[in-house]
Amino acid sequence: MSEIIPDETSPNEASPNKAWGAAARRRWFFEAARQACAGPMPIVAVSLISVGGLARDAGFSIEIAVASTLLIWAGPAQVLFFGAVAAKTAWPVIALSISLSSVRFVPMVVSILPMIRTSRTRLPVLILAAHCVAVTVWAEGMRRLPGVPKEGRMAFFFGFSATCLAGTSLATAAGYALIGQLPGPLAAALLFMTPIYFVATLTRGARQWIDKLALVFGLALAPLTQMYAPAGFDLLALGLIGGTGAWLCARRLEARGRAA
């Protein structure tokens, strides 16, 4: 069983020190756009159609609905924002619950940035890259970036992110225009896009024990933390317990593998 090792020895790259011109970067940008169009972008776009409808229900304009996708770029936080405004929730409570729902970006940004930056990457570019990180971009990036030569990864990342952002913005606008016309089962199908897609794509990306265990622990812990963790902190607790558990188990399995 061969693992893809994320370094400069990837088969795509014969000579890592050859000049990396704008042409090569542009090629990776459009290659990423093509890969995004072949699956991930349509899926994340469809899963955010309902956000447009929620924005309209809450009394916002279509510009705000689309801007929420470009600025917040996190489905659950957008659903929370418009749902809470519609329910006339107090603003500080809205801000706090959105913040709690977005804690997941910390480990995602920490794990993907070292893969795409080089020593010469400037801070504004890093800030923009961090902003583009969302679950789809992260899950697909972790899986696809190891196959891209280091110098092309930033271009690949931005090509992928920009395609997803553009498609999803259009879907948000479409959802704003369409809301209320979908029968119940189809509306449920739109919401179901996120769970089925993430379980499948995380399974696909799980090459090592630690990834598989983290996935299983995360799913299995969901009912427990929902019952026993303080409201709002359940996902944080779940991530730390499930992730650390997977990390410890994988270390033991590896140690046993070496001993055997």
Partner: protein, 115 residues
């Protein structure tokens, strides 16, 4: 509500202060914590495991405590299509698209069946 929200800058201020910034601070924190971390640092294995578990937890929560139209389905109507989608995923030699299409077909069927 729409009467006040449609006017002027207030919706933009609300979106930025109560939607964008509370979410974005975590991306900034991640950016700060990632400084100087090497791609092959052993810490990253742990960070990635936490991120994967968190994402799986988000999925679990969406199915166990659903909002909107998904809440109209019984628990079997939400977990069954997920299981069916994953069976098709493996049967179709690890195809994500096949899993999504099969899961979607199953949940639409479950919706009409239960509704």
């Amino acid at each position: 509500m729409s009467g006040t929200l449609d006017q002027g800058l207030w919706p933009w201020i609300a979106l930025i202060c109560f939607g964008f910034l509370p979410s974005e601070i975590w991306r900034f924190l991640g950016l700060f914590l990632a400084r100087g971390l090497d791609e092959r640092s052993p810490w990253l294995a742990w960070v990635r495991a936490v991120a994967t578990a968190l994402l799986a937890g988000v999925v679990g929560k969406l199915l166990l405590a659903p909002n909107g139209a998904l809440a109209g389905l019984p628990l079997w109507g939400r977990l069954g299509p997920l299981a069916f989608g994953m069976i098709v995923y493996f049967a179709a030699r690890r195809s994500v698209i096949a899993a999504v299409l099969a899961g979607e077909a199953a949940i639409i069927a479950a919706g009409y069946w239960a509704g």
